[in-house]
């Protein structure tokens, strides 16, 4: 139990620092950045206290906001995907999740991919809607969401693959 808490606190700090010091300054083609920190929310233990989980996601988002001076957009997006995560888990993994036997290290690649894609796109959609905050620029919002999502999804998959093999 203690080792799980330790692993996840460590992951919280590492992902937040990685995000604000490196990943948010990539600006590929001028504006495309990956938001890898949502990996903390994606890979949070499944048997959890939901209230603590939602609160931790909020805290992570707010930390990123504080560093990037972006108001509360990351906090809002993170808390949204933390809240809807159980529904998406059920949608992507189906029966395995219902029987409480799900482990991220040994699931089908297809369902894992769809799980990551759905949550990433929702997160980015909320994020960029709040950042741009203008209904008339909806094309711009969708464009940012699409390109940044592709970048984030690739990076998330790479990270999970690399860090799973070690065990």
């Amino acid at each position: 139990m203690n080792s799980i808490v330790l692993t996840h606190s460590f992951r919280f700090v590492i992902l937040a620092l990685l995000q604000v010091l490196i990943l948010s300054h990539i600006n590929f083609l001028g504006y495309i950045n990956p938001y890898l920190y949502i990996l903390f929310i994606l890979l949070f233990p499944l048997k959890n206290n939901r209230v603590i989980f939602i609160f931790l996601s909020f805290l992570l988002g707010l930390t990123i906001d504080m560093f990037l001076d972006s108001g509360g957009i990351h906090a809002a997006a993170s808390v949204t995907i933390a809240y809807i995560r159980p529904a998406i888990l059920k949608l992507s993994f189906g029966a395995v999740y219902d029987h409480q036997t799900l482990k991220f290290s040994n699931v089908e690649f297809g369902s894992k991919l769809s799980y990551i894609i759905i949550l990433t796109i929702i997160h980015h959609l909320v994020l960029f809607s709040l950042e741009i905050f203008n209904f008339y620029k909806i094309i711009l919002i969708l464009q940012y969401t699409l390109f940044s999502s592709i970048f984030t999804i690739i990076l998330c998959l790479l990270t999970t693959v690399i860090f799973n093999r070690r065990k």
Binding site: I54, D69, V79, L130, E131, I132
Partner: protein
Amino acid sequence: MQQIINFIIRNKSFLLYLLLFSIAFGFTIQSHSYHKSKFINSANFLSGGIYNSINNVNEYIHLRSQNELLQEENNHLRSILYNQPDSIQETFVDSLYSGISYKFSPAIIIKNSYSSSNNILLLNRGKRDSIQQDFGVISSKGIVGIVDNTSKKYATVISILNTTSRISAQLKKSNHFGSLIWNGKSPHIVQLTEIQKIAPIQKGDTIVTSGRSAIFPKNIPIGTIESYNLDSSENYYTIHVRLFNDMTSLEHVYIIENKDVNEINMLLNNPHE
């Protein structure tokens, strides 16, 4: 009463979500209105400290180009200094009255940002160095932004690349003035709006600050006219201005304090006293 408590317990995660989302939404709205982002900003002990230590390392990477920039500025200032016709003052000057109304202090940008629609920079000077809200920030090539929040050692700056920023600017040759805004697209182009239709403008004309706002002195360079068009009512020009500054690689900047700002504001707010 029992039912209400039961309802809260049953839906506690949804209610918590709603609460946290509205807090985050509140912060977002605050950050979209000018000079209001009070609670969550990077001018604090934790993020300021981390950015500062990272910047200590990063500085070395840009050392050569920044040196060249500073040498260029030195060269420019020297050419002004030695070419002045009356460099030796012959008349007596009262040393108590300096006549200086703008005070400059140097600072270093420790966090630059130019890719989002509301860009905010972080400087390594704060209240300790008597930096306050609404001081102007310029670099050797042109304007950078306006100080927003300050902590003891750090200050955040609303960049000119911020959709909430409005700075008074004018044509250098004809004194027609308007507001400088940014449409959030390119970090090299800003927009100058509300220039009268009668103003004579041409591509390549220089845009400078107008000195009407008590933040920036007059004649600080901003950029050159890239293209222009009349707005929908056909009374005003909207001018696209290419910045002299490369906002993507800023490091050494100067903070401008207007010593007379209190007097000016007092006069403007209470005209009958």
